[in-house]
Amino acid sequence: MKTQWRLFFIALLLVGIGIGMGVAACSNPSNENHQTLSADTSNALAGKLIITGSSTIAPVTTELARLFESRFPATKIDVQTGGSSRGISDVRRSIADIGMVSRKLKNSEQEFQGHLFATDGISIIVHQSKSIENITTQQVRDIFQGKIRHWQQLTGDASPLTVIHKAEGRSTLEVFLNYFALKNPQIKADIIIGDNEQAIKLVANNPNAIAYVSIGAAEYAIMQGSTIKLLTLNGIVASTDNLLHERFPLRRELNFISRNDNNPLKKAFLDFTTSIDAQPIIKEFGFAPTLH
C-alpha cells in the first residue's frame, strides 16, 4: 500500500475507534432473556433485573442493588447509565425492567408505573472565598440570562462572573430551567459541562465561577475537601435535611419507572428501595428518601 493510503486508513481508524467507543458507551444493553423467575415465593427470589437511566440515580441504585443481591443471592441486578430519557425508552422497548428517571414523570409517560423513592435538591454553588451566602430567584435568572455579568452587582468584588451551565438533555438542566422559568436558548453561559463533578471541579478552581449542581454531589465534594460552598436559595438552606422535610424548593423527584406487570422480583426490589433498610444508603448519597 502506498504511504498516503496507509496514513489515510490509520487516520480513519483513529477517528473510527474514537466514535466507536463513544457509541459503545451509550449503546443498548444486550436484549437477552432475563425475565426468568424460578419461583413465585418471595423467600426464594431469583433471576435478573436490568435497570437503566439517569446517571444521577445510577450510583445509589448500584449500592441498593448490591445490598439486595446479598439478601437474595440468587438474584442479579444490572445497573447501567445513559440518562433519564434512555431509562424511559429502554422500558418502553422492554430492553430494561426498570428505568431510572430523575424528574417528575411527564403526562406522556403515564403509561408507566412510577415509584418515587427519593428527592434530590439542586443548589447554586460558588467558591468558598466568595462573600455571598444567599441568592434570590431573580438574581439567578439575571445571572444565567447574562443581565448580571459581574460580581460587583452581587458581592462588590471587582471580577467578572463565570457562568457554568449544563449540556442539553441533562435532567439537572431541565429541573433548573423549569424552576427558574427559563428556556435554554435564553441562557448566556461561559462554560458548558456535562456532569456535576465537572461543575464542582471548575468552581473549586475558579473563584469567580457560579454553577448549579445536585445537593448530594456538592455535599459529598465538600466532605472530600472541595473548596466550594452551597448558597441558600431565597434564604432556605440547601441541605439533605431540608429536602427530606420538603422545605427546599429547587428539587427533583428520583423515580423508578416500570411497566404494569407482575414481576415479583421487580416488585420486591422496588419495595426494598423505599424500606427502612434502604434509607441510610440513600441518605449517604445526599438524597432525601421517600417514606412509604
Binding site: 463565570t162 438533555g169 436558548p185 461561559d190 456535562g194 465537572q198 471541579k201
Partner: protein, 285 residues
C-alpha cells in the same frame, strides 16, 4: 511444516487481518451514515451551516461553530507543537550531550503515554485558572490549544527524532566531510530528507488532535459559538458528542452522529491535503 506452507499461512493471516480492519472501518462509516440519516431526512443537510443556533431539542442544529472549533484548536496546537517538537528533536539529535538527549527522549516517551484525560485535569487545575486570572473565564480556545499542544508535542518529537535518525548516514558524513556547519547541514541536508516524515507526523498528530475529546471538553468551556478571540470558549465536534450523546434521543441523537460523520470528513480532507503535500517530492525523484 515446510517453510512455503508457513509463508502461505502467514500471508493468508495478514490478508484476513487487513480485511477485518477494512471491513470494520466500512462498517463504522456505514453505521455513522445510517444513524445520521434521520436528521438528514428531516432537514436539509445544509441546516448544519444555516440554522441560527445549536438547540437540538428545539429543532436547531447549527454544527458550523463546532467544526470551526475543532479545526481551530487542531491548527493552533499543531502550529505550536510542530516547531517545538522538531526543534527538540534536532537539539537532542545534533546539539545536546548524549545524556541530555536520552533524558528528553525518555521523558517524551513517558509524556506520550500519559492518557489525555490527565492533561485535561492538569489543564483544569493549572492552565484554566492561569488564563482566568488574565482573561475570564479561562476555559477557552486558548486553554484547549495549550492542553492539546502538550498532548501532541511528545508524539511530534518522537516521530521527528526517529526521522532524523533515519537520515542517510553517508550523506550526513559527506556533508560533515565538506566542513559544513551544523546549521547548514540541518537546513540543507537533513531538513529536506525528513520533510516527508514530518508530514506523516503532522498528519497523524493532527488526527489525534482533532479526535481528542475529554481533555478538550474539560478546558474549552463548550459554549457553542464562533469565538471572537482565543479567550472565548468554544465547543468541538468531539466534545459535542461526548457531552450530549448520553442523553440524546431521536433527531438530537442523529445530529450527534452527523457531527461524527463531519469529523470523519474533516480528517479525510486533511489526509488528502497531506497526500498532495507529499506528491511533489515523489515526482522530483
Amino acid at each position: 511444516m515446510p517453510p512455503r506452507c508457513i509463508d502461505n499461512l502467514f500471508l493468508r493471516f495478514i490478508q484476513l487481518v487487513s480485511l477485518v480492519s477494512i471491513v470494520s472501518l466500512l462498517f463504522i462509516i456505514f453505521f455513522l451514515v445510517k444513524e445520521s440519516y434521520l436528521i438528514v431526512q428531516e432537514k436539509p443537510i445544509l441546516t448544519v451551516f444555516t440554522d441560527p443556533a445549536w438547540h437540538p431539542l428545539d429543532g436547531q442544529f447549527l454544527l458550523l461553530p463546532m467544526m470551526v472549533g475543532s479545526l481551530l484548536i487542531m491548527l493552533g496546537a499543531m502550529l505550536i507543537a510542530l516547531p517545538i517538537g522538531l526543534l527538540t528533536a534536532i537539539l537532542c539529535r545534533y546539539y545536546a550531550p548524549r545524556w541530555f538527549a536520552t533524558i528528553i527522549q525518555r521523558l517524551m516517551e513517558v509524556f506520550a503515554g500519559i492518557p489525555a484525560v490527565v492533561y485535561g485535569f492538569w489543564g483544569v487545575m493549572v492552565i484554566v485558572p492561569a488564563i482566568a486570572a488574565w482573561q475570564a473565564p479561562g476555559t477557552s480556545l486558548l486553554a484547549g490549544i495549550l492542553v492539546l499542544t502538550f498532548i501532541v508535542t511528545p508524539g511530534v518529537t518522537i516521530i521527528s527524532y526517529h526521522n532524523l535518525s533515519q537520515v542517510n548516514q553517508t550523506l550526513l558524513h559527506s556533508a560533515i566531510a565538506l566542513g559544513l556547519s551544523r546549521y547548514n547541514i540541518i537546513r540543507h541536508i537533513i531538513f529536506p530528507e525528513v520533510k516527508h516524515g514530518l508530514i506523516t507526523a503532522t498528519t497523524l498528530q493532527s488526527g489525534r488532535a482533532i479526535g481528542e475529546t475529554l481533555a478538550v471538553l474539560m478546558v474549552c468551556g463548550n459554549v457553542v459559538q464562533l469565538p471572537g478571540s482565543v479567550f472565548e470558549p468554544i465547543r468541538t465536534l468531539t466534545s459535542n458528542i461526548a457531552l450530549e450523546m448520553a442523553y440524546a434521543m431521536d433527531t438530537h441523537r442523529s445530529a450527534l452522529f452527523l457531527s461524527g460523520l463531519l469529523l470523519l470528513l474533516i480528517v479525510l480532507v486533511l489526509a488528502f491535503i497531506a497526500e498532495s503535500m507529499q506528491k511533489p517530492k515523489a515526482e522530483s525523484q
